[in-house]
C-alpha cells in the first residue's frame, strides 16, 4: 500500500524521509561493503531487486476481484535480511514511482519507512522468533510474511492518521478510520501474500538451494536451511 505523490503535508513528508534515511544509508553502506569484498554479488543483488520490482508489478490472484499486488516485504526480508532490504526496497520504490506511477518522490520517505523498514524488520523478527520456538518452517514463513504485510499496512494507516488527525477524535479516530477503510483489501491481501511467500520459498528450497547458498547476504534463509 503506497501513499500517493503529494498526499502527505510537506512537514510530514520531510520527517518520514528523515526517519527512513538512516536505514537506507546503513543498507547502502552494508551493500557497498559487500560489493567491495565480493563484486560478484552485484549481479545477484541486481537480479533480486529486479525480481522484487516485477513481483510487485504482477497482478495477484485476488479474492475480492480488486486488482492487488504483492509487497514482497516478507520474502525480501527473508532472502536479504532487513538491512539490505532497506536499500533494495528504496530503489524498488523509486522505480515504482517513476515507471508505474505507484507512490511518489515526496512520499518516498514515508513509503520506504513502511514498506522497506518496518515491514521487513517485523517479518524478519517474527521468522526468527517462530524458528526459535520450533514452529514448522511453512507456518513460520506464513506468519512472518503475513505480519510483515500487516505491519506495513498499519504503519501506513498510522502515517496517514498523524498527517490527517480527525477533528473530533484526533489521531486515534483517524487511525481507526484509515485502518478500517483499507482493511477489506489489505487483510485478505496479507493472507494471500503469506500463502504466496510459502509457495515461493518452498519452490526455492526445492530447486534453488545452490543459488540461495550462493547469496551470502541471506542470513534468514541460511538459518532456515539449517533449521
Amino acid at each position: 500500500m503506497h501513499i500517493a505523490e503529494g498526499f502527505l503535508p510537506p512537514l510530514h513528508a520531510a520527517i518520514w524521509s528523515a526517519l527512513a534515511a538512516p536505514f537506507v544509508v546503513a543498507g547502502a553502506r552494508r551493500v557497498n561493503r559487500l560489493l567491495r569484498d565480493q563484486p560478484q554479488l552485484q549481479l545477484l543483488l541486481a537480479a533480486s531487486g529486479a525480481f522484487a520490482f516485477l513481483l510487485s508489478a504482477l497482478k495477484l490472484p485476488s479474492i475480492t476481484g480488486s486488482s492487488s499486488h504483492a509487497t514482497g516485504v516478507g520474502l525480501g526480508a527473508m532472502l536479504f535480511g532487513p538491512s539490505v532490504m532497506a536499500l533494495l526496497g528504496a530503489i524498488v520504490l523509486c522505480f515504482q514511482a517513476l515507471l508505474l506511477a505507484h507512490g511518489g518522490l515526496t512520499t518516498l520517505g514515508a513509503n520506504v519507512f513502511a514498506l522497506a523498514v518496518v515491514g521487513p524488520w517485523v517479518a524478519f523478527a517474527i521468522l526468527r522468533g517462530a524458528r526459535r520456538l520450533h514452529a514448522p518452517f511453512a507456518a513460520a514463513v506464513f506468519v512472518a510474511a503475513l505480519s510483515g504485510n500487516l505491519a506495513t499496512y498499519l504503519t501506513t494507516a498510522g502515517q496517514l492518521a498523524l498527517a490527517f488527525p480527525d477533528p473530533a477524535s484526533g489521531v486515534m479516530g483517524s487511525f481507526l478510520k484509515f485502518a478500517a477503510v483499507f482493511a477489506p483489501t489489505q487483510l485478505p491481501l496479507a493472507a494471500v501474500e503469506g500463502l504466496l511467500t510459502v509457495s515461493i520459498v518452498n519452490f526455492l528450497r526445492e530447486y534453488s538451494g545452490d543459488e540461495l547458498r550462493a547469496l551470502e547476504v541471506l542470513p534468514a534463509s541460511r538459518a532456515a536451511e539449517a533449521g
Partner: protein
Amino acid sequence: MRAIDRHAWTNRWRDWHPAEKLLPAFGLLLMALLLPPLTTAPLIVVVAGSALVWGAGVPARALLVFVAPPAAFLLLGAPFLALSLDLSAGPTLRFSPGGVALALSSTLRALAALSCLALVALTTPVADWASLLRRAGVPAGIIELLLLMYRLVFSFAERALTGQRAQAARLGYSRFGRGLRSFGLLAGNLFQRGLTKARALEIGLTARGYRGELPVLRAARPLCRSRLATAMLGVGLTGLAGGWLGRALS
C-alpha cells in the same frame, strides 16, 4: 511500464541535460507542496501538463494513462478525509466542514504533485538519474546496482508476462487456490531464472574484464543555461500567479 519508459526515451526533450528537466519539475513539485493548493495546484497541473504535451511532445493520452490510476485512487479516498469519526458518544461518522476543506486541499495538492511526477517520469529515463546521483555523492557501486536493476527489469518483465499468459491459457488462474499456486510457481521460477541469468552474466562479464562498472558511450549533453533559466522563470511565474490568485480570491 514500457509505455512510460518509451516516452521517457523518445520525447522531444530527450537530448536535453537532465538538470534542465528535473530542476524545473522539482521546483514545481516544491511549490505544489508549499503554496496554498486551492489556487496554485490547478495552475501547476496546467503548466506541467502543457509542458509535457506541447513542450516535450508526449501524447496527452500517455499523460492521462499515467495519471489516471493514482488520481482515481485519490478521488475515491477524498470522501474519507471529509468524514469525521466521533468516538465520544459511540462511534458516529459525520461530514465536517473542516474535513471537506482538508479533503479538497489534500486532493488538489496530490494531483498537482502527481502531474509534476509525470513531468519527471515521462521526460527523463531512469538511466539519466545516474549522473545526478553521482554528483550527490552516492557511491558508484550503488549507482551501478541501480542501473543494472533497471536493465534487468525489462529483460525479466517479458519473461514474467509470457509466463503468466501461458499459465492463464492453461487455466492456471481458473480458481483462487490454483491461481495462488500458479503465481508461486511463476515467482519461484522467475527468481531462479533471474539468479541463473545473473550468474551467467557475471561469468561472461568477468571474462571481459568487468570491474563493477559497465562503461557505455553517452552523447554529450551540455547544460543549456538559457533554457534552464527560461524554465525556472516559468516556474517562478507560476508560483507568483498562484500567490496572486490566492490573495485576489481571499
